[in-house]
Amino acid sequence: MKPKIGKLHVLTDTILQSKYTHPDLGRMAIDGGADTIQFRQKKGTLLEMYRNAEEIVKLCRDADVTMIVDDRIDIAFAVDADGVHLGQSDIPLTIARKLLGEKKIIGGSATDFDELQKVIEDGADYVGFGPVFGTMSKENPGKPKGIQFMKRVAERSSIPVVAIGGIKLEHVDDLFRTGIHGIAVISAICCSDDPETATRDFMKIIKDKHS
């Protein structure tokens, strides 16, 4: 059986902040109750990524949290992660599926309905859709969609929708009311003084109102 696609995906980031390492962020997010960690290291060597991913996957296993690797399928293989997340500038989804098989989660990114359709056709298990709001975590993220647009996305999509892009605590309740499956958070957790508490705050709203 495939691992579950969580409702709160915490994406590790060491570009917007440098106080915490990837494993630090993974550990704090897990301790705060995140149900999916997306290891997302954009800079550094393959060896560094591998060592970080190895540490995070162990933490995830112990806590029964889903571990997704951004972009690098080879790292997902090397640490036996639960899946990968592939954007429009990564290896095509159909090819990734051939490499990874049906037991691994593959997430795709979409910013409009055409890309959404393609991601679904290409066999993704979930779609990361956004940006919902303006974001610093991505270069050229595209025009913010707003919360109400996510309702249409959730209606149109036959696979779980994970909203992404500038999501803050105050958006969580409204966002989940649109029918999306989950949210992906970077800055609001990684750049927080206390990522564990920040994660816990997000998770509390999701658990109390949307589970």
Binding site: T45, L46, L47, E48, Y50, D71, R72, I73, D74, F77, A78, Q88, S89, D90, I91, P92, I95, A96, L99
Partner: protein, 207 residues
């Protein structure tokens, strides 16, 4: 089985008015049997697309194509091998991902790391930087030809010398123990790729 002695390493920023595809086509037509796609600034999709185009060319000439560092792109395109940096995955970890059939080349910079890479199952090694080169301006130290002796003496797998290699400098690398040479700028920037490849081949003929 490593039956090539001339290992072409790409740098599409050195090809001037010509495309990388043209250079690789000419080089393979002239007898290059192994190409490493080393385009570190490309994202995975760009590298995947380029690798597919280059693989069509290398496959036509029955040459091997290696992808630098991105094991997943190598698997995705179905090329013959991966080229690991010292900062990529350890060879043994890479081997678990690629399976037994894919060739694994590894760049090394010391006799010690040569032994480690060999023990972990590398099929061949690339050692340098031997001479001054413009392809790797960040690596200012050159190791010199004599250092090839120390790297090659303890390991049975082929070692290719890299870094500022020209046809004139090829023979001394072979005499120092290298199995062959890895070449970037001498071919990427050549006005006559076929002629340059032939000059290398003359130097690489085993006497």
């Amino acid at each position: 089985m490593i039956d090539f002695t001339l290992y072409l390493v790409t740098d599409r920023k050195l090809t001037g008015s010509r495309t990388l595809e043209e250079i690789v086509e000419e080089a393979c037509a002239a007898g290059v049997r192994a190409v490493q796609l080393r385009e570190r600034d490309l994202d995975a999709r760009e590298l995947f697309d380029l690798a597919r185009r280059i693989h069509t060319i290398t496959a036509k000439h029955e040459a091997f194509l290696f992808i630098n560092d991105r094991i997943d792109v190598a698997l995705a395109v179905g090329v013959e091998g991966v080229h690991l940096r010292e900062t990529s995955l350890p060879v043994a970890e890479a081997r678990k991902i690629t399976g037994p059939d894919m060739l694994l080349g590894t760049s090394i910079h010391s006799p010690e790391s040569a032994v480690t890479a060999y023990r972990q199952g590398a099929d061949f090694l690339v050692y340098g930087t031997i001479f001054d080169t413009h392809s790797k301006p960040d690596l200012q130290e050159t190791a010199g030809v004599q250092s090839i002796v120390r790297v090659t003496q303890n390991i049975p797998i082929p070692v290719f010398a890299i870094g500022g290699i020209t046809p004139d400098r090829t023979r001394m690398c072979i005499e120092a123990g290298a199995h062959g040479v890895a070449v970037i700028s001498a071919i990427m920037q050549s006005d006559d790729v076929a002629r340059t490849v032939n000059q290398f081949k003359e130097q690489l003929v085993i006497l």
